[in-house]
Each structure stands twice: as structure tokens, then as C-alpha cells.
């Protein structure tokens, strides 16, 4: 299971490589709308597949919503729900 910081780095790398964004991902805040930044519906498919490979998860159909891939924060939340990222509780417990 990846830490939140590691996960955010890897999520941004996936978006850089597959999101076909019109802006540099490094300039986008974690709550920035990725579709407004240029990600198309087809690019979001590639992002999903790359995330599944990188984090060894599969997004179930119920999570195939536009909002799930709308921002770095949203993606991180989805991956946390799937158990691929340490939740906030786990990180607090370790602190």
C-alpha cells in the first residue's frame, strides 16, 4: 500500500503521461478540474488503465464516473477507497 505522498506523485505521473492535458500537471493544484485542463473522455480511459496498472487495482463499474477522475484529489480518494493508498486514519495512527 502506498503512502499519500507517494501516491500523489504517481497519480501526477500518470496524468502527465496519459492525461493529454493542455497544461503542465506540475502547475495544477490537487483540486484543479482535469477536464477543464484538457483531459478528454478517451484520455480519462487511458488514465484509468494506467492507474490500475500502477496501483494494482481495478475500478469497479460503480466508480466509472466522471467525477472520480475529475481531479488529483478525486483520484486519490478513489484509490484510497480501493485500498491502494493508506487512509488518513492509518497515517494518523503511525504519527
Amino acid at each position: 500500500m502506498k503512502s499519500t505522498e507517494q501516491a500523489e506523485t504517481e497519480i501526477r505521473a500518470v496524468l502527465r503521461d496519459h492525461g493529454r492535458l493542455a497544461q503542465d500537471i506540475a502547475t495544477l493544484t490537487s483540486d484543479a478540474d482535469l477536464y477543464q485542463a484538457g483531459m478528454t473522455s478517451h484520455a480519462s480511459v487511458n488514465v484509468m488503465l494506467a492507474l490500475e496498472g500502477k496501483f494494482d487495482v481495478e475500478f469497479p463499474d460503480r466508480m466509472l464516473k466522471r467525477s472520480v477522475f475529475a481531479s488529483v484529489d478525486a483520484i486519490r480518494g478513489a484509490l484510497t477507497e480501493l485500498g491502494a493508498i493508506e487512509g488518513a486514519d492509518a497515517q494518523v495512527a503511525q504519527a
Binding site: N46, D61, K65
Partner: protein
């Protein structure tokens, strides 16, 4: 109504990068079988079908429903026409919305494929006040 436009080269790239994982996730066996019946038009046909799926999602407002791409299928008829077949959550949502018919038109030219969808809904019930 719903409309979507897809760059065919991006579909070709996805096939190259993700291979069968991409194809099996997005397209039904029937869609893949038809697309691959021509070795030179695979990406074009798949791109048009992806555009059709997205157009259906827009027309039925399924963006936040949680629908798999394979639940929206483009079926090639013997006449050569293409029709939309809905399965699973897509079918449930369409029925709940009162969708009676889905009309589809697809095309591809150069590096682009597009699809337009029109959904015919059942008319709302008219309630007449007691006279």
C-alpha cells in the same frame, strides 16, 4: 441528444500501449470482432464505437451513474446499419428515464471518428384535474 468526437490516432495509441486490456475493458466481443474483420480499419471502427458509447452516456446523462463501457454496445445489423444495445446499469438507467428508442449515427474521416445519438423518451403522463 449526445455527440462525441474521438481522435482515431489516440485509439491506435491505446491499443498499442494497453493492448487487450484496453480493448476488453471498453468493447464487447462483438464490437471487437467486427472492428477486426478489416485489418486496416480497426482503430477507425473502435474509435467510432467509443464515440457512440460516449454520445449515449451524454444523451442519457449517465456521467455520474457508474456505467461500464461494455454496458453500451454498438451492434452491427445485417443491413449494415448500427444500433445501440444497452446492458446492465445502462439498461436500468435508460428504462428508469423512460427511454423508448436510441437512434445512432457514426462516421469517421481522416484522424477523427464521431457519433451522434438521439434518445426518444416516453411522453410524460398528463394529469387532468378533476372537473
Amino acid at each position: 441528444m449526445g455527440f462525441d468526437l474521438v481522435q482515431i490516432s489516440t485509439v491506435a495509441q491505446s491499443l498499442e500501449q494497453f493492448g487487450a486490456v484496453y480493448e476488453r475493458r471498453i468493447f464487447t466481443d462483438g464490437e471487437s470482432r467486427y472492428a477486426r474483420s478489416s485489418s486496416t480499419l480497426v482503430a477507425q471502427r473502435l474509435a467510432a464505437r467509443f464515440a457512440a458509447k460516449e454520445a449515449v452516456m451524454k444523451a442519457l446523462q449517465l456521467a455520474e451513474t457508474g456505467v461500464g463501457w461494455r454496458d453500451i454496445e454498438v451492434v452491427k445489423q445485417g443491413s449494415g446499419d448500427c444500433e445501440v444495445a444497452l446492458h446492465g446499469r445502462a439498461a436500468e438507467a435508460a428504462q428508469a428515464a423512460g427511454a423508448q428508442q436510441i437512434q445512432l449515427s457514426m462516421s469517421h474521416d481522416g484522424d477523427y471518428a464521431g457519433a451522434s445519438v438521439c434518445v426518444v423518451f416516453a411522453p410524460p403522463e398528463t394529469v387532468f384535474p378533476d372537473s
